[in-house]
Amino acid sequence: MNAADTAFVLVASALVLFMTPGLALFYGGLVRSKNVLSTVMHSFIMIGLVSVLWAVAGYSLAFGKSLGGLFGGLEYLFLSGVGMGVEGSPAPTIPHLAFMIFQCMFAVITPALISGAFAERMKFAGFLVFSALWLLLVYCPMAYWVWGGGWMQQMGALDFAGGAVVHMSSGSAALVVAIMLGRRKGYGHTPFIPHNLPMTVLGAGILWFGWFGFNAGSALAANEVAANAFVTTHMATAAASLVWIFVEWLHGGKPTTLGAASGAVAGLVAITPAAGFVGIMPSVVIGLGAGIFCYFGVSLKSRFGYDDSLDVVGIHGVGGIWGALATGLFASTAINPAGFDGLFNGNPGQLWIQFVSVVATCAFSFIVSYVLLKIISVIVPLRVNDEEEEAGLDVAVHSESAYQA
């Protein structure tokens, strides 16, 4: 056991945890004031639900030794055999428990990301059932495939901190759930105006801060790769935030604070799979691409008519896909000998592998999410009724209101 690595990963775990309340603020500011608590709750309660599921079964399904090649095994159910020592730890220098809790925080935020797509209209019970099943049947297999020794890892797909596992998977699920729930009441004639943008900008800042734990922590050791991932994360995010406001400015609008915050999150998403595999200047290019592609990504919803309330598809889906492909362009074994070279370092095959991982991730998450929602909708209604939606979910679902007049 290495004390520095252990301390680093434990602190990184706490940083990643902090991203979820950051996301709650980011999303909460974007909805109307009658739905802010419901939206905050969608993120916050995932800390409760997913953490317990992770200890009971999720960790085992993601990082156990293999069950038919699709899931991890069952040997770590109820965390049996996950101890204070390094025995069995996928990161050899830290306690198995430290690795487990670091991964737990990733599992927590991923279903919370999806919640932006169904904000302002989903029933709470349906949301809890969907999130629990989605974690076990989409997230855990994805984590196993990419990090636990499954087929994507064996194929050589690079995903440093969860571009596929976290962002593309949640982005695809978001598209399904936005389509299946239907548009919010008043779509097209009622303005859905964010009720508190300072809250959203603060949330984006907390995400940026916590993301250092997410990406640098994914080195799983206090080493050179962690330092590289920390810097690439910062530079890509800065570049994306900056380019987003210039794009909207040039596109006939004005530079907006929401644009600066959205661009930052797009940059964070895009650098996630690449952070520990690419150099600093490539990370700036990845950030620039993220700002441009995601700006146009959020306009897809009005073109196709689905109501992805808070742009999970446009930011996490599009940003995740760009990040995965960009990893195939810019990855370098000079940065991380445990990775592979990308197209610009003489290995065009890597781009193809990344492309396959994009298609497989999106298709898998899309299909399983669709089937899950179909089955759940037979048992519990997914959507609140018109009266509840009109009153706002805060009062209708939680018997609370955020602001007293």
Binding site: I193, G253, K254, T256, Y295, V298, S299, S302, G314
Partner: protein
């Protein structure tokens, strides 16, 4: 007694207040309101999506004054609130039957 209700630009509140207290008016009630007239609303843009916001923030000032002060007050209000551009607002004048000061029980003009 007359009630004067002024709906105008929020940033003009202080000037109107100064003008009214300057001619000896001793009280007023102020409310933040939203509405539209010929100015209509304005456009807001969030992540590239444009929304027309119909209701514009305005301030509503209500005063109740003796009839003798009315013309002087209306002049003072218009001088303070006028910019000459669409959106300056409106003044509504109505007659008040009576007024009572709760503390003393006085009524009529001496209660103002």
């Amino acid at each position: 007694m007359k009630r004067v209700e002024i709906i105008t630009r929020p940033y003009k509140l202080d000037e109107i207040k100064e003008a009214l207290t300057g001619i000896g008016i001793q009280g007023m009630t102020v409310t933040e309101v939203k509405g539209f007239g010929r100015q209509r609303g304005h456009k807001e843009v969030y992540r590239g999506a444009e929304y027309q916001v119909d209701f514009v923030s305005k301030v509503k000032i209500e005063i109740v004054i003796d009839e003798d002060l009315l013309d002087q007050a209306l002049d003072a209000i218009q001088q303070a609130a006028k910019t000459g551009k669409i959106g300056d607002g409106k003044i509504f004048i109505s007659t008040i039957d009576n007024a009572i000061r709760i503390r003393t029980g006085e009524s009529g003009a001496s209660a103002l």
